[in-house]
């Protein structure tokens, strides 16, 4: 009996001591090794890198939301409502809706605008997420195709729909089941937008289609396109008669050839990222491919900048809120998603960023916030308009890279 008892579990306080000493030792060891780990990681790569694919089995995350009222949120610049207010004799910028969220839930949000470009952001988090390590962000916002890529790689946490009643209720019907996330298990749209054409009415007449953008003599050398492959190639595919949602390699080749020709002719001046509107406003460029919300904002100070939905068709995209693996505040993140699907908050946000609002009912709420925006089809498009929108075909990793390569060959950017 005695022997059996002594072989049984240790008294709990002793066990705790043992565990403590082990953990302290491992912490010390960890500290001394951490300096070498940087070098080690670099040299490890010398023998190739393993697959970066993760899954719920290989990479499980812990949710500390119950005890930690915090949330790290990474978003694109100028993508949330702001207000300049006088506070203590100093002018400071506050984020009204986000402030309201913090007041209502008691969650402290660290808001960072460090997403400038989908690919760039991907590179920033690739090593950690590929190795199932935390990226110190609980929530970030990326465009459809990049969100799809991360879902394929298994880098995102599955959302709990029970925590998202507003989203369930108000998510716009046209956005409910994209091919790459049919049940919205991993993503919730932040804002949607249109890709189209913007032109400077001081410099040129109306530009109605991509075909004009690519071939009109008076625009030679005064046209810029976007560096995002899917944005630009969607219209190149449409302009060459292919369906961007379903095209073959040959059709891709034809579309790329058309773009190459426009570049060789000197028709295209440059491929631009986020800064594309500067050239248009300064008059260096007469017309460019553009995102709807940016143009609407620019119009307040430059009414001569116009946005056109190209005759070839409508390109609708969304930027999605995503929770990466190892993020420790998933429930907090879900609370924020849910908060922004309150029609009133959604309308406040949309009135500032001027992108398409993915929330049903926000239009009615907008009546009170800014009636001038209620009938703006670039913020509240009607169903008929949305039905004409084209999606870009989902691409597997190898094809995507091949196409990105091809596109980079032409754009050089």
């Amino acid at each position: 009996m005695d022997a059996r008892r002594s072989a049984g579990p240790m008294p709990s306080h002793i066990e705790a001591m043992v565990r403590a000493s082990v953990s302290r030792r491992s912490v010390l060891r960890g500290a001394s090794l951490s300096a070498l780990s940087v070098a080690g990681a670099g040299l490890f790569a010398a023998c190739g890198t393993p697959s970066a694919t993760q899954s719920a089995d290989t990479c499980s995350s812990e949710d500390l939301s119950a005890t930690e009222k915090a949330l790290n949120f990474s978003n694109w610049p100028a993508y949330i409502d702001q207000k300049r207010v006088q506070r203590g004799g100093e002018k400071v910028t506050i984020l009204p809706t986000l402030q309201k969220f913090q007041d209502r839930t008691g969650i402290t949000v660290t808001y960072t605008t460090d997403v400038n470009d989908n690919s760039e952001f991907f590179e920033k988090v690739r090593n950690q997420l590929g190795a199932c390590e935390p990226v110190d962000r609980d929530l970030f916002v990326l465009t459809d195709w990049m969100a799809a890529r991360m879902i394929d790689l298994g880098w995102l946490q599955q959302l709990d729909h029970a925590n998202l009643p507003n989203v369930e209720q108000s998510l716009s019907a046209s956005l409910r089941s994209p091919d790459w996330d049919p049940d919205r298990d991993y993503s919730v749209p932040w804002q949607s937008g249109l890709t189209g054409i913007a032109y400077n009415a001081d410099l040129t007449g109306e530009v109605r289609s991509f075909e004009e953008l690519l071939s009109r003599g008076d625009l030679k050398g005064q046209v810029t396109l976007l560096t995002e492959m899917r944005d630009t190639m969607l219209f190149m595919l449409l302009a060459t008669g292919a369906d961007p949602a379903d095209f073959t390699d040959d059709e891709w080749g034809v579309a790329l050839e058309r773009l190459q020709q426009a570049v060789d002719d000197g028709q295209i001046r440059a491929f631009n990222g986020n800064n594309y509107l500067q050239d248009l406003v300064n008059g260096n460029v007469a017309a460019c491919e553009a995102w709807s919300g940016d143009v609407i904002i620019t119009q307040y100070s430059n009414p001569n900048i116009k946005f056109v939905v190209p005759e070839e068709g409508l390109a609708l995209w969304s930027d999605n809120m995503l929770v990466p693996n190892k993020a420790t505040h998933k429930t907090n993140a879900e609370q924020l998603m849910n908060f922004y699907y309150d029609p009133e908050m959604a309308a406040t946000l949309a009135a500032w960023v001027n992108y398409i609002c993915p929330v049903e009912g926000a239009r009615e709420a907008m009546e009170e916030i800014d009636p001038s925006l209620v009938d703006n089809p670039l913020i509240f498009p009607d169903e008929e308009m949305l039905s004409k929108a084209y999606d870009f075909m989902a691409l597997d990793e190898t094809t995507a890279r091949q196409y990105e390569d091809d596109f980079a060959q032409v754009t050089g950017g």
């Binding site: 790569a45 190739g48 697959s51 970066a52 050398g221 295209i268 300064n282 008059g283 890279r401 990105e404």
Partner: protein
């Protein structure tokens, strides 16, 4: 001991004493340690990673992982596919270096020999642009050269540019941007070596009936060669690898190799991008070695 005794009255037993052996101090190595560790961590490790990435199987993806297959074909492909960009980078970098030398030499000469009490003010003016960031300076060139800007209007008025001619988004704008951005790297080493020249040597050349051009060619220029070599290297190396100037002042037709490397990394073609980077490094290294050997300025290294 064969050396004369330093003090009078010295001698005898003292002369037999050996000088103390040089102290084997570890101080030297300890002083080297931070720098060595730094280089190891931030130069050697990334270099090893880069070289091995360039030999990965080009068919690898993030999903499958990348296997080290010693795919030397990556290099063949890189040089094959991007020969134009390599040539263009070397050409633009070379032109920018040439212009910087033509502009920088007289400037450095003036500062060293003619500026008098304005010397330090002028030096400060050369360095002053560095107080703002590289990006901001290049962006301001974008404004200066804008299609609706004063410079372009004047050049059009003078019929140097055609009616719809432009400066922005052309090769000259890129070379100009490169020249401007790297000019201080040319001026400062030139100034440093010109300033060291003993003016009496040039005067002596004059006394020996050398005309001023002859004195410059036979005395000043050879003595300033270390500055010329250092300046051209410091200008050429970053200029050839630059991608910001093309991005802001050029078009896809002016794409340099730096832009290709950047876009390939962005597109996820890590092996190809790494192969291009290594090729660029080797190419520049080879040119530099060749140049230094021809210029024969050992004191530089």
């Amino acid at each position: 001991m064969t050396a004369p005794a330093p003090f009078p009255g010295g001698g005898g037993a003292d002369d037999q004493q050996q000088p103390p052996p040089p102290r084997r101090s570890r101080t030297g190595y300890l002083l080297l340690l931070p720098g060595t560790l730094w280089l190891l961590l931030f130069f050697i490790v990334p270099l090893v990673t880069l070289v091995s990435t360039s030999l990965y199987d080009p068919a690898g993806t993030l999903e499958t992982g990348y296997q080290l297959t010693f795919a030397f074909g990556n290099y063949v492909d890189a040089i094959d596919d991007y020969a134009t960009e390599f040539t263009r980078s070397l050409l633009y970098g070379g032109l920018a270096t040439l212009f910087a030398l033509l502009l920088g030499y007289p400037l450095a000469y003036a500062i060293a020999f003619r500026a008098g009490r304005w010397k330090y003010v002028m030096l400060l003016l050369v360095i002053a642009p560095f107080f703002t960031s590289f990006l901001i300076r290049t962006l301001s060139w974008k404004m200066l050269l804008a299609d609706q800007g004063v410079i372009v209007e004047v050049l059009r008025f003078l019929h140097i540019l055609g009616d719809d001619g432009r400066l922005l988004a052309t090769a000259p704008a890129v070379v100009l941007g490169l020249t401007y951005n790297f000019l201080p790297f040319m001026v400062l080493p030139l100034y440093a070596s010109l300033d060291k020249i003993d003016v009496r040597l040039i005067e002596a050349a004059g006394d020996l009936y050398a005309s001023p051009p002859q004195a410059f060619r036979r005395v000043t220029l050879p003595l300033s060669m270390p500055g010329v070599v250092a300046g051209t290297l410091l200008t050429f190396i970053p200029a050839a690898g630059d991608y910001i100037n093309v991005e802001l002042l050029g078009t896809p037709q002016q794409t340099m190799i730096g832009n290709r490397i950047q876009s390939l990394f962005g597109a996820g073609s890590y092996p190809a991008a790494a192969a291009l980077s290594v090729t660029l490094m080797l190419l520049i290294l080879a040119m530099v070695m060749l140049y230094i050997r021809r210029a024969g300025t050992d004191e530089l290294l």
